[in-house]
Symmetry: C2
Subunit: 344 residues, 2 copies
Amino acid sequence: MIQVNHEILRELLESELAKRNVNTESINHCVSSLIETSLRGVDSHGIHLFPHYCRAVEAGRISTHPKFDFQKNAASAGILDADHAFGHHAGSEAMKYAMEMASETGMGAVGIKNSTHFGAAAYFAQQAAKKGFIGWSFTNADALVKAQNGKEAFFGTNPVCFSAPMENEEPFCLDMATSKVSWNKIKNFRSTNEPIPADWAFNGQGESVTDPHEATSLCPTGDYKGFGLGMMVDILCALLTSSAISKDLSPMFTSPIEEKRRVSHFVMAMDITKFSSLSAFKLSLQEMADRIRNMEALGDERVMIPGDPEKHTKSNRLIHGIPVPTPNWEEFLGLNNDFSSAVK
Amino acid sequence: MIQVNHEILRELLESELAKRNVNTESINHCVSSLIETSLRGVDSHGIHLFPHYCRAVEAGRISTHPKFDFQKNAASAGILDADHAFGHHAGSEAMKYAMEMASETGMGAVGIKNSTHFGAAAYFAQQAAKKGFIGWSFTNADALVKAQNGKEAFFGTNPVCFSAPMENEEPFCLDMATSKVSWNKIKNFRSTNEPIPADWAFNGQGESVTDPHEATSLCPTGDYKGFGLGMMVDILCALLTSSAISKDLSPMFTSPIEEKRRVSHFVMAMDITKFSSLSAFKLSLQEMADRIRNMEALGDERVMIPGDPEKHTKSNRLIHGIPVPTPNWEEFLGLNNDFSSAVK
């Protein structure tokens, strides 16, 4: 494991995408999302994806110069055809429209079709919250979460993300996969050959497994509840935009890299000022969060709200750098030996 | 346990509320919600609450003739002051406004303040889905769900409900408490003095308990994820309407019955036709549901989607009646001996 300076890394990532003829806005959104996500400690959706994205650009899966087509179908509703852009860019463009509509009407909702992997959902909902809106973001993903009483996966890890502005700190942000754990966690246990807890994953027969190498599907979070939230996500993302559902999406890593995946997303923005004063809202959310954090804790623990671990990790990594496992770092050096200058 | 005919019961419930001078619309929504919820097998939010509601009407907690005040603050956003109406009525009124706004703009969102217990969240989201909209409904509730690493409860069981129309059957409906199990389940185990599973509830020191009599707080569903969803619900319901959060709500059953509780709710409606054709949407959701149900199942199980158990229970109870535990039925007979005519 090495530690990487996020500022130097940002420049190197930007330059790699520029060399591949990616447009400036896509570069900005992709790199900003990856760096921010790694700083927040969400390593499953951070910089480790970058070499894969480079290959997807080279093979034509991701458009370097997408032609976005936004159809505003009503004052608060529209659909963005993303033309296979970086999902980080497509989702940001959609959230921009959602906020514009919300500023007029109180609410804006945008479905996004013909997109690609959009990274961490938090990146989009937080864009809204940082501008004083409540934001939601959702995406479908290839099938990984086992159906109730079934043998196989049906929905992806289809995340639900909600973010809202606070008075004294970065927005409140709940970004949750609708599976109990991420597939990345299973992969981590594979790399060390350690057994996984019995309630994380299943084999192809739908049986619970502790050998990570046998896992083919994941347990939904909260059993049928997580599965139901995953279904809500596919209804919003895929059905409203007439796109492929999770079960019909080709896998991100193992399908031919030149293949377009047509991932779909959904974002919503809500203008807080159409309900309350923004300053009163931010103060009351800050007070609620602080009351929770100041509750009496178990032993030496700290009482936390969702997003607190990410905020702590970010303040730490801003100083000490982003940790990258050696095999992953070798992929970066394979792209360009200049990456070595980012090591702290 | 006795079995009760839902049609006769409906008339008797209506007449009891009419005797107490409750307005016709409130009667209709309260009774429709209770009967439908019991038919669907969600006994924690069904007819067993009726004697409590009668006491709350008599004591003045619930208004018999509420003066609703709806402030439409923007084309897609508004706040309804419910004047302490039956929550079943207040939520329905709010959903009516949300659908009206959504028909114009694609989205409608309404916060509801100064309300009372609104029963099952499904009642409201399904109203939207039955009219071809996507519906969401949320409510806060007095504190019952333990904070992460804390000793005590902070949020209520704050449900998240999502409903969408299908082609050949009643709407898809996910209605989930953000706790792992309902408080009612703990009470059921208390009544039989049986131990509860170790991951359901905690004592006042935040320690896991198996004795249901020692339980004072509940485990969130999916750990921090359910707690985070409960926080989202309180942000929408309480913070946007400048109302009391879960932690500051008086308990429904144990606070003085004449006390106003000022529960808050939040509903949203989305007009599907602003994204897709309604018929195509309904067909594609039907197809998705049927594909899941037709997946290969484990042993003799059936693969199900959320809401399927409720649909099966409803078709059964429409024929065989609604089961009511004897102690609860005695409360009904205490209200009026005529209730005996509903027994099958």
